[in-house]
Symmetry: D2
Subunit: 120 residues, 4 copies
């Protein structure tokens, strides 16, 4: 359903949210990357004592599922604010990175000339 939430719209909401509270002065790139890493660690904290198998079932419990979604939201919030501040398009940056990685990590066993059409 999600009806047209997009990255731009979220960045606009985040910028208005910060501006209304006069929080922009805290949002240097240096502070935003620190906050991003702190939120990423709060995600790690949820999983730190779990076995790999337990970690795969983390969404089965409604309380931990909510906690995971909440921390994912926080990571994304700081990532988008950082990108806004720096003038980086995160989706374009990732797309370009996947392009580079396809060259850097060739598919094992794929021949250079059939990589993009394995069926040929």
């Amino acid at each position: 359903m999600t009806e047209k939430i997009d990255v731009r719209a979220l960045q606009t909401r985040l910028a208005r949210f910060a501006a209304a509270r006069d929080w922009e002065r805290f949002h240097t790139p240096k502070n935003l990357v620190a906050a991003l890493s702190v939120e990423a660690s709060e995600l790690v904290e949820i999983f730190q004592w779990l076995t790999p198998e337990q970690s795969a079932r983390v969404m089965d419990d409604p309380e931990s599922a909510h906690r995971v979604e909440d921390e994912i939201a926080d990571v994304l919030a700081y990532l988008l604010q950082l990108c806004e501040t720096l003038g980086v398009d995160p989706l374009a940056a990732l797309s370009a990175k996947i392009d580079r990685n396809e060259t850097r990590f060739p598919v094992p066993g794929a021949h250079a000339n059939d990589r993009h059409s394995p069926e040929s």
Copy 2:
């Protein structure tokens, strides 16, 4: 320009990339959050010795700009793979979080009854 890169399309590319290299077995939620936090720290590393003012100019230097974009891409890549694995919609999660934060952190000076229409 960026012509229609969206989150879903990136998640599909990332899933195919991992599947082609047989990397899916490494991508437990526990491992993905660890990798996400490591990439977030690689962003922090770029800024760790900078003053707030220097951090605001980090994109002026092409080499550090590229490094920043590269690490942003890595953070986003692991975040999207985590969301795919867990069945979380990251944009919906962030939208819901902003809704909650608007209640949790009321705008200072805004009266309860005009909070959503400051111009009235």
Copy 3:
């Protein structure tokens, strides 16, 4: 053997090392905690794709053993420099924390009145 390396002596060496290179101006508490967290993530990076069982054998390979020791040294270096800057005694802080945790997390099955003398 380790012949008398102690925390104070290491702090003195680290302080002289930084002073000789004029690096003290970078060592605000804010920067030192960022650097500490970056080094902790470099430790995580070594383990991020390992199974729990593989992680238990990490010291069997001389190269990864060296890498682990190197990152442990970096974490400790920034922790000790932070403590020096803030005037915190890290060993006393940990000793006090263990005291608090013994109250906070009582041993399961231990009766309140025999906790400190299980043999009585």
Copy 4:
């Protein structure tokens, strides 16, 4: 005063603490490094919105001073437990690292032959 708290004694207390609560099964190297990085991030969280100047005065406020000491203790606790599990001597590892760094980062302006006796 601190009367003879040393690293070995703290490691012994931590090992007994974990054993008494049957927590050893959680303490794989992989989990301990994750926990270490989470605690390091809790330190970062205290400083994330502070200016460099504010960060230098963090111990002036008793409440934030206590919080800083508490997180330093947690970082050290996981670092020492990790070292115990892996058989690494953290003080020897740091001492060896400082030796290597003295070669890697020569003092600017110091001549090779007077580096260790600038007064000569």
